[in-house]
């Protein structure tokens, strides 16, 4: 093998090494920083650690919204299972009972402590994975 070819192969190997380590670092940081999205029923089936930030999507159960000072508590339901949520802050304009909502936060002792509550900026929005039957 002549020296120029040797050098070229060496350079390619260096580039490959850097790209692979770079991509794996990005993927690692992606996997440690992503938020899982669950419906209340999916949440029931899984064991989750309370240190993992997750998103819960569903409908706000009618009659469940209670306020105490600036703190608000409500129930997110998919009409099969539900979960209690507490949140300290202003809920978005489109937050109302019987309407779609997504909460981001941590599950602690079966209560979901939300850091952020989102309502889709669309009156006709329905969270994914929920089939509504009109009787409920």
């Amino acid at each position: 093998m002549n020296p120029t070819r040797k050098k070229r192969i060496f350079n390619i190997l260096i580039v490959l090494l850097f790209s692979i380590s770079g991509i794996s670092m990005i993927l690692y940081s992606l996997n440690t920083n992503l938020d899982y999205f669950f419906t209340p029923s999916e949440l029931n089936e899984k064991e989750l650690s309370s240190s993992k930030r997750i998103k819960i999507g569903g409908m706000v159960l009618s009659g469940s919204v209670k306020r105490d000072g600036s703190e608000i508590s409500f129930v997110i339901t998919d009409y099969e299972n539900s979960i209690n949520v507490i949140y300290d802050g202003i809920v978005p304009d489109l937050f109302k009972e019987d309407s779609g909502v997504v909460a981001l936060g941590y599950l602690r002792n079966d209560i979901f402590e939300a850091e952020e509550v989102l309502a889709k900026h669309d009156e006709n929005y329905m969270p994914p994975n929920i089939e509504i039957n009109n009787d409920s």
């Binding site: 990005i26 993927l27 992606l30 920083n33 992503l34 306020r67 600036s70 802050g89 202003i90 304009d93």
Partner: protein, 637 residues
């Protein structure tokens, strides 16, 4: 009747653009043919503009027999919102997008002389791209559809959060940026087709690329500013998928204009510049695909329509695949033999181009990963700010360190830097001292934030030394680079301090109650009902006093719009250079008190100011750009 004329003119324009494209691609380039292409393009352009003009007139005169206008406008709206309702939803905004694309091409046609060897081909390629979009408009998103026989008496109204001056200009500015990159793209493709490496296409497109970059920068900044005061969330960037798909072309475009200047100065990185021009345009199209296919949930997304998504995906794939095949075929002809010297200015720009690539790749991964993940594991996920912060902080930091090295470096020569140079020592130590002072007084505990503040100051001080040398010893500096990079330093400092110092609290307040928050005392004075022309509102009056005796009155509102029943938040902001006091009002509680949210957003104005300063550097470059550099006579040697 008018809508049919408008529709017909667009179809006519499509045919003519197609002709212009075919002339350029299939017939050998004689003077007669290139004149024919230029003229066909102009005619097609005038038909398209006439069509759009008629459409604007239809919108301005409340012609609700047009389905699109009936669903997005209303007689009660002021005239400029009637017109801006055209770009408030998918079909009309696509129409505007195409018109802008055609305008760029028209100015190109007008400005570049007929003798330019790339002109006809570039114009032809542009025409074909326009045809692709026009077919998309006519086949999948027709804005000319009518409601017959009986049109509605009034329209459905524009979404109230979009009834805002910033939203009148934000989409057009952004679109001008996106489609502006079609010019360097088309030139690069024309260059590849010609396969003559003596032609300096880079010089020809520099001004155009920077203009498109300016529009993109200002467009993104306007969007950020609008979201801040209108949506009531109080931030300037949310890593929303639609923001991300605007950030990707911006990053690629920034890498592109850097690479472009290297190619012009020293004939290096030419291959890379071509790839970037293809990348920028593809990412602009990818943005259109993400927003308009409804494939990703976002506040911005238009209604879900798989047919549109498929068309756009096919169109983008066609463009990328043909460009890349062409690139591979011509690779041997355009490859530069000269190697880049270590520690030369080119080497630093190249390294930072790699960092730009990493950032683009990461954002792309963050946008598409939820789709891939759900497909593979059947589990919905979302990627938010923590991921992007984890990637951007170290990469931007590294890139800035190379940027600082590049200040001293020379084109095609090794950097002979002495680490004990006076400017280096002084700027490094003073930046370190400033950073430590911030750390001490404001207790900034995030390592990356401290480091970013440090490099931010370092960049600014380093360039200040250069400016000093310019004044004192007439030493040449590139003023555009100096301004743009100092703006970057300012941006890093303001982002870091903003994220470290800003605070927020929600509280419940009764009328006449006073609470203390930080150095403020907040007195909830009153709440009253008020009426606007198309909404009613609850308006709160709060008197805010600082410890040094200054007081401001802020009145946040909650509005309910009649036509859609939609509720919106009107924030009340007391803006100042140091910090914004940002207040929104929530619901009334059972005990009669109201939920009030207060945010103190530090240095947030400086973030937008830095972005504007960056685009100002671009504007300065465009207006002082020497005429001779775009004509072609000199550049063929």
């Amino acid at each position: 009747m008018i809508v049919e004329i408008s529709h017909f003119l667009t179809i006519l324009a499509t045919g003519l653009f197609l002709l212009s494209g075919l002339f350029a691609t299939f017939i050998n380039n004689t003077e007669y043919i290139s004149n024919l292409i230029a003229r066909t393009y102009s005619h097609a352009f005038f038909f398209l503009i006439a069509s759009f003009g008629l459409y604007v007139w239809l919108a301005a005169t409340d012609n609700f027999s047009v389905l699109y206008i009936a669903s997005h406008s209303n007689t009660n709206l002021p005239i400029f919102y009637k017109i801006s309702s055209i770009w408030s939803a998918h079909e009309g905004s696509m129409f505007l997008w195409i018109v802008f694309l055609a305008i760029w091409g028209f100015i190109f046609n007008f400005k570049i002389s007929q003798s330019n060897p790339l002109k006809s081909l570039t114009l032809g390629i542009l025409s074909l791209v326009i045809v692709g979009f026009l077919l998309f408009l006519l086949l999948t998103s027709n804005p000319f559809q009518t409601i017959l026989p009986i049109p509605p008496i009034n329209g459905a109204d524009i979404n109230p959060v979009l009834q805002d001056p910033a939203l009148v200009i934000h989409p057009p500015t952004l679109y001008l940026g996106y489609v502006g990159f079609s010019i360097p793209f088309a030139c690069a493709i024309a260059f590849l087709i010609k396969g003559n490496s003596d032609i300096e296409w880079e010089l020809m497109v520099q001004k155009w690329s920077i203009m498109a970059w300016i529009f993109l920068t200002i467009g993104i900044t306007l969007g950020s500013w609008w979201a801040y005061y209108e949506l009531g969330w109080g931030g300037y960037w949310f890593w929303d998928p639609v923001e991300n798909v605007a950030l990707m072309p911006w990053l690629a475009a920034t890498a592109f204009i850097h690479s472009l200047s290297v190619s012009i100065k020293s004939k290096k990185l030419r291959v890379w510049t071509i790839l970037l021009s293809i990348l920028v345009f593809s990412l602009s199209l990818f943005g259109a695909f993400i927003v308009r296919s409804g494939i990703i949930d976002s506040v911005h997304s238009f209604a879900n329509d798989p047919e549109r998504g498929l068309y756009l995906l096919g169109f983008i794939s066609l463009i990328i695949i043909t460009s890349l095949i062409l690139f591979v075929l011509r690779f041997s002809k355009i490859q530069s033999i000269e190697r880049i010297k270590r520690f030369s200015k080119e080497s630093f720009v190249s390294i930072n181009n790699i960092f730009f690539g990493v950032l683009i790749f990461s954002v792309m991964l963050g946008v598409t990963y939820p789709l891939i993940y759900e497909y593979l594991f059947n589990q919905k996920i979302s990627v938010g700010a923590p991921f992007y912060t984890a990637i951007f902080s170290p990469i931007v930091l590294l890139a800035c360190i190379f940027l600082i090295f590049s200040v001293d470096s020379k084109w095609s020569r090794r950097l002979k830097s002495n680490l004990l140079d006076l400017p280096v020592v002084v700027s490094t130590t003073s930046s370190a001292i400033i950073t430590l002072l911030f750390l001490y007084f404001f207790d900034i505990n995030d390592l990356y934030m401290n480091l970013l503040i440090f490099v931010g100051f370092l960049i600014i001080l380093r360039y200040m030394f250069e400016i000093y040398k310019l004044i004192k010893f007439r030493k040449y500096i590139n003023p555009f680079s100096a301004i743009a990079h100092m703006a970057l330093g300012l941006l890093l400092i303001s982002i870091s301090l903003n994220s470290s110092l800003s605070t927020e609290r929600a509280m419940s307040l009764k009328i006449d109650e006073t609470v203390k928050y930080k150095d403020l005392s907040i007195n909830f004075q009153n709440i009253n009902l008020s009426n606007g022309s198309n909404y009613d509102a609850i308006k709160a009056d709060l008197l805010i006093q600082t410890t040094d005796g200054k007081s401001v009155k802020l009145s946040p509102e909650k509005r309910r719009y009649f036509t859609r029943g939609q509720i919106t938040t009107e924030t009340a902001i007391h803006a100042s250079p140091i910090r914004d006091i940002y207040i929104t009002i929530g619901d009334q509680l059972d005990d009669g008190s109201w939920v009030v949210n207060i945010q103190l957003n530090y240095l947030i104005r400086w973030i937008w100011f830095s972005a504007i300063l960056m685009s100002f550097a671009g504007i300065l470059l465009v207006i002082t750009h020497k005429k001779s550099t775009f004509t072609f006579k000199k550049s063929i040697s």
